[in-house]
Symmetry: C3
Subunit: 375 residues, 3 copies
């Protein structure tokens, strides 16, 4: 009995594909001038500049090695090997995403706004070194893994943290479109006698390092978080919504806070025949492929999106602040692998960690642009 699936044509094959992506961002945050930061004006940056490779190795093995050089440093992103020899199952070992949410699982190449929902960064989602298994057959998707730290953090010679992470989704066809109902649950043991966590989020753009909401470092033993996911895409329309709760287990008699965030989004293609694809094996939206791309004389795809996003970092004595956002974005996808994005957001901040004079409650506006390609 051979461990190799004879129906898998990749079993005996080598393949090799270079990978790259570039996102060039320009954005400006308009906030009360009494904040007095040099960081909130018009600013530009490489949001991401990835280079890497992926491929397959005979015996149903595969790999990806990729890194982000946007900050003039090397930040390893997906760096793993996998095994696809069991039907409907992918086993992955190395640095990859711990299935934290629908939007975190979705590639940053495909999101409807320049940044993901603010809870994704606030709660510290990142790729980490781990071993995971994924099962997908028909409308069922199940992902589970054990993870330790991000490889950059593993370089510090201390005790490694560990986590158990699971995500599940039902993906039926519904009302002439694709439905997604999902959820995830996570337990992360910091594995240090006395450790800290910090939750914070930028104001809808990565070009600034100012965070209006920020719990600052708080003592912690472990984190438990869980999320709910909902999506539907069909024809020119799509809807997505998520919410996630992060519970911090604090040492001794300190009360354990639970922080919450989430978003709800709706999108509409203005160009005829275009739709937002869905990836069954990721449980998340995929790449927009314009029906009439510019290389065939068309205009490409144009999509408008609206989003409400909230993040509440106040609980059990911790006052990290509350942030709400209403955002609008306009995407132009001239061809499958090139994208331009304009977005605008209005923010309401309460109990802010950054004072505007003596004021902890204020509004801000953010305008951003992105040019992007990948291969």
């Amino acid at each position: 009995e051979a461990p190799v699936d004879p129906k898998n044509p990749k079993a005996g094959k080598w393949s090799f594909k270079p990978r790259g992506r570039l996102q060039i961002d320009t954005a400006s945050v308009s906030a009360p001038s009494s904040i007095g930061s040099k960081s909130l004006g018009l600013a530009s940056e490489f949001r991401r500049a990835y280079l890497g490779v992926e491929g397959t190795i005979p015996g149903n093995f595969g790999y990806r090695i990729e890194a982000d050089i946007a900050n003039s440093t090397i930040d390893p992103t997906d760096v793993y090997m996998n095994y696809t020899g069991i039907k409907n199952v992918v086993i992955t070992l190395g640095q990859h995403k711990p299935f934290e949410s629908m939007e975190d699982t979705e590639s940053d190449l495909f999101t409807s706004f320049m940044e993901r929902g603010s809870f994704n960064t606030a709660f510290g989602f990142e790729r980490r070194l781990g071993l995971s298994a994924q099962y997908q057959k028909g409308m069922i998707l199940a992902q589970v893994g054990v993870f330790t730290d991000n490889v950059t953090d593993l370089n510090t010679d201390s005790d490694n943290s560990y986590s158990i992470d699971g995500r599940f989704a039902l993906q039926p066809r519904l009302l002439g479109g694709q439905m997604h109902i999902g959820g995830s649950a996570h337990y992360h043991d910091l594995n240090e006698g006395y450790a800290t966590v910090r939750y914070r989020a930028r104001p809808f753009t990565h070009t600034t390092d100012v965070r209006f909401v920020d719990t600052k470092a708080i003592s912690a033993l472990s984190e438990t978080n869980y999320g709910l996911e909902l999506a539907w895409t069909g024809g020119p329309l799509h809807f997505t919504a998520e919410s996630q709760w992060m519970e911090v287990n604090r040492p001794g008699g300190i009360a354990d806070p639970t922080f919450n965030g989430g978003y709800a989004e709706a999108g509409l293609f203005l160009t005829k025949g275009d739709t937002l694809p869905y990836r069954m094996n990721e449980g998340a939206p995929g790449r927009i492929k314009p029906k009439n791309p510019v290389e065939k004389g068309g205009l490409g795809a144009v999509q408008a999106n609206l989003r409400y996003d909230w993040l509440d970092l106040n609980d059990a004595g911790v006052v990290g602040g509350r942030q709400q956002l209403v955002g609008a974005s306009l995407l132009w996808v001239p061809t499958d692998y090139v994208r331009f994005l304009l977005d605008y957001g209005h923010l309401w901040v309460n109990d802010a960690a950054v004072l505007a004079g003596t004021d902890r409650s204020y509004n801000a506006d953010v305008v951003g642009m992105r040019a992007q390609f990948d291969f």
Copy 2:
């Protein structure tokens, strides 16, 4: 009306090309021993070690992502996307060169000496993030762009500088060869309440970090620089010359200095049939392709070059020093993508920033060797 040029065969095509270069340098500076630096003796280094990719994307888009790893860090070099769908025009967005001079535009793979004319480094020319357009048709070349900082500097969370940069060249056939008459002009606003600039140059080799001439940090609001370019190449001969003026707009009542540098070069091939190519779409010399390369049993190309180079960093109360150089180089190009280079320079320094005992005026000699390949 399709935005895609039907005569452009790349409009609907993907292409992918890996890029790399390695320059291994050994050099020695012979200067008065009273300078007492450990850095001036025989030293070796990787001058450049680039790895990257470039290619095209359907819809007349193109890209390049490349970085220098020679210093055991990641220094992004050309990282951009471009659009070639308009006839004779290239639009580029990302990090690229702001058309500072003829020799700065020329690839470092092709220069006649190990280092470019000293004003190029002294005046801080570097790739920066920007948006530019280039028009070239027949003998006309025009380049114009708006730029902000180098992406590495953009990581610091402060106000971004911006500049407007333009370069123009006439490129007629003349006297049986290729003529180049050009110029460039640049305005760079540092966009900080109180910023500094610093102009300095190494002594004809990059292996040392000692700079005999150096203005040290001086307060500045903005920079205006402009340059003149002249070149002719035909048969075994070529001549190139440039000069550039850098005017510093200093705050308050401080006088605004103008610094100047330049060079004049002549070269001669010793091997029959070889010539220095010229690139119309860059307005600069190109790759030497030996008529009789070693892979066909030939010797490759051998070229001898002479250069006079000057840099004057004394003006309006700033005493950065004056440096003059007479240099000679010998190139051996066994095959198109491999090159060996030996160069020698004699330097005269006045008002030096580095003292030899109590002496601010002295001479130095520099000998250097380079082995290089690229793909």
Copy 3:
């Protein structure tokens, strides 16, 4: 008379091959708890994550540019150009290994244990910038080169060290297998008025930064080291053994110590028909290619190995400690380019540099696992 060998089909050819490797390690050191380090428990890391390219250029030139990104930094590994136009000879210029030992020359992809013999790291073997020539014909292998520092160290602007390095091996067929009898000798001038060296080794795993044996920094002018190498591989069996002596030339009247280390190893394939290959042009073991790999329905190759390893850093007044190890490893090679490795070691340490309470002599146990692929 053409300098190009007409029998060398690569003389006029371009080639390009991407390179990559990933080693994911998990290990635990069980040592006296009185040592009190957070670094000795269960820990994981990317041991190596290489990306690079190699190829040939017309005219019998070749190149390799590769770097390790495992530590979220860029560490250039092999970065060189070479020339193969002289029969049986390879001339290499750039950063490569200075032929320090058999196991140091062997790729880390092929070693029988997760780490090489402890003298290899203790004595500071690393790739350095140099020019070398290698001759191999039939059973004769001779390697000689001059080297300066590692390119990362060359970035510091001080006097460069230099070394002369030679290695020689006889590689006859013997007793139905492949024999290797070799030796190497090295002189390394630190080329500084007053420099230091430091010899130390991790306890059989790279996941910890604790070194039980460590000379700490000692003043030195130069190093002279020499080694002996012995190996035999045939059928399912192989034996390897090496020893190396490192003599430190210390300034003034300080006595010159000689440190010593080495190992002896035996291995046996448990799967039928498998053997440990030997590379004549490297003078070291090569890649295991399972006779029945998983992609053909087989089990792959399974090999068991035993090793005794010693390191003595006590001499002439320097007390760096003594470390002995008995190790066992089990390799599973499902297909040529994928490998899983489990190893165990028991360590005896005397005169340790790290105290267990007040004790300088103690034992430790190490268990480690590796998953690896390369292309």
